[in-house]
């Protein structure tokens, strides 16, 4: 299977001189289309840094990051921004949505920033919201949505258009267990549709939804396990698995 995301011996160092800290130290990872990889590890292991590099939010100090065949090192700031508008979607733990925009406007935003007409972007946004079961809440502002609904809107935004890579940084961190499972179900379903996904999580039960779990410690991959059994059966409480 072709890898959508490839990290080749990636290193990232914060600071310089005697205060230099290696957040990532020679990490290699490949994620194929339709695959969901969970990244686990203690705080400071480099999980969020890995995600930032994979999405072009930051640049590696060493090594190579390739997304859908594009070497991110060859892209300038505009190129990276365009990549995030078109190919990569993010879901964060909190502050996921812009409070001044409705759910549909939040989902449509990357497409509008890319020059797509407002009407067309909205149509795509509504289609994406339908995938996460939130069509009726399209006109709601973020503070009118529950925590779980906000995360589902964020997932809709992350997969709208022609996205190939979904990066989720502790998307269940601020949610209760039941809502968290529902969110993971939605993520899993989108990956089953063909998107490559990387999920950073502290919780082993959420990692159970992934095809593979990568353990990071002190910026290095210390262990990697394949999923022994299929992800929790019966679909997700909130998703369309």
């Amino acid at each position: 299977m072709t890898a959508v995301l490839e990290l080749e011996r990636v290193t990232h160092v914060y600071g310089s001189g005697h205060v230099a800290v290696a957040a990532l130290d020679g990490v290699s990872l490949a994620v194929a289309a339709g695959e969901l990889v969970a990244v686990m590890g203690p705080s400071g292991a480099g999980k969020s840094t890995l995600l930032n590099l994979a999405g072009g939010l930051d640049r590696p100090t060493g090594g190579r990051v390739v997304v859908a065949g594009t070497d991110l090192g060859r892209l300038d700031g505009r190129g990276l921004a365009a990549l995030r508008r078109r190919r990569v979607g993010y879901v964060f733990q909190d502050v996921n949505l812009l409070p001044g925009l409705t759910a549909a406007e939040n989902v449509a935003l990357p497409r509008e920033l890319d020059g797509v007409r407002t009407r067309d972007a909205r149509a795509e946004a509504l289609a994406a919201l339908e995938l996460v079961g939130l069509t009726e809440r399209a006109g709601a502002f973020p503070d009118e949505l529950s925590g779980g609904e906000r995360q589902r809107v964020a997932i809709a935004r992350a997969v709208a258009g022609e996205r190939v890579l979904l990066l989720a940084d502790e998307p269940t961190g601020a949610l209760d267990a039941l809502t968290g499972e529902a969110i993971l179900g939605v993520l899993r379903a989108r990956c089953d549709d063909g998107i490559a996904g990387v999920l950073v999580t502290h919780e082993a039960r959420y990692a159970g939804w992934a095809d593979r779990v990568v353990f990071l410690a002190d910026g290095r991959v210390v262990d990697e396990t394949e999923r022994a059994a299929p992800a929790p059966a019966g679909g997700s409480p909130g998703g369309s698995r």
């Binding site: 969020s48 930032n52 999405g55 939010l57 930051d58 700031g77 505009r78 921004a81 365009a82 990549l83 995030r84 508008r85 078109r86 979607g89 993010y90 964060f92 909190d94 502050v95 996921n96 949505l97 812009l98 409070p99 001044g100 925009l101 406007e105 449509a108 935003l109 990357p110 509008e112 920033l113 890319d114 020059g115 407002t118 973020p142 503070d143 949505l145 906000r150 935004r157 601020a174």
Partner: protein, 474 residues
Amino acid sequence: MSALAGSRAVARLAWRDVARHPGRSLLVAAVLALPTAELASATVLLRTSDLKASGSFEQANVFTLVFLPTVAAAALTAAAAIAVGARRQLRELGLLAAVGADRRHLGQIVLLQGAGLGLVGGLAGIPLGLAVTWAAFPVMRTWLNPVVDEHGASIVPRFSVIGRDIRWVVAFTATVALLTSLRPAFAAAKVPVAAALAGRRPSRAARPRLAVAGVAVALVGLVLQVLATYLDGRGVLLPVQVELLFLGTFQGIPSPLVWTLAGVTMLTPGAVALAGRVTPQRPAALRLAARDTARHPGRSAPAVAAVAAGLGVLVVLGSLASDPPVAGEAWELYALSQGVRTPPFPPALRLLLVVFTAMTLAVVLVVNALGRAEARDDFAVLDALGAAPATRRMLAAASAWLLTELGALLGVAAALSVLVAQQAVRVFAPLWQPASLPWVMLVLVVVAVPAVAAVAAAAAPGRLPHHPVERRPA
């Protein structure tokens, strides 16, 4: 992708943020309405007056000396408010970048917010200024030089508005609104995405070049002052534009002071950074205020500059009050040309004293309120740690005191250097004349004004979140 791609989304985001923060939006608009109102009023008054009647542009010059510090204070305060807004949007800007907004989009959002509000406020200031001038015209026209016809008969000034002048005021408004927003917009465009998403403010490297440029501009002001006094002593007549902008004086108030103050403005980021380092361990409120001031140069440096501008002019005005021969000489010449008796201290200067004191206090209080809004999370943490309500008031007071004191010291330094340069050429030797310095005014500016600002800030009502360390909604 075209340059306009996403512009509708950007405009919508900018507008929604403006609407979500009506207090801050109103503040920016109102602050920038003030200089525009002043300028609109001046266009009527200066057109009505015969500027050539007294042989120099005294009325235009005093307008410049009032107007420039007002514009500076207003623009700097608005810039501080816009910068605070941009910083509070930091995570949203980071989120926008994460979903694909590039630097241009981020800068445009802040620029649209600031420039749009400035333009709206400025345009609202035009009818406001004209209305006030119209209402007060019967009094104001008595301050103007009388216009005489070819037969030497006085013409009674009439209130009239000239369209071309108003177009210039609109152009001025647009320019100030744009310039005010540029720096925060550039800062927003350069925000590191990963740091913004984590809520970390980008670290600001020290800018020694700006400080060097500031010293150079301040020195230019001093050189201009020496030149102005020298030429004035020799009775050299200069083109009015040169007199107005570079070498003019109005009853002893030197135009080169504006240059020196501009140089001082460029020194303020360095001054606030220094204040963060050179702080006593106790009291804790002062230490916290100093660190906060240094951590937020985008807010504190413009405030210090605005205070320095206001108080710098105030000190020079005070020097006239404490040095009757200087004020009297110029005033006497003017009075003789007008055929009036010489008062000891012109009433217009007394009015200016009041105006600049009020302006300084207003700037400090506004910036302090912005600081309180920005530090809301910090206050919540303090509350969670068990800090008493009085602690918050002490912090507000310490912050106001520090901003005003820094501005006062810089403004006094600028004013004194110009006054000494003026004296140096006028009397040749000795260069230093302590007796002619405005000691009372200096004490007022360096001690009393910061104290009043501190008391006013402590007395201002503050809001506390009901739930300490609450998480912001998405």
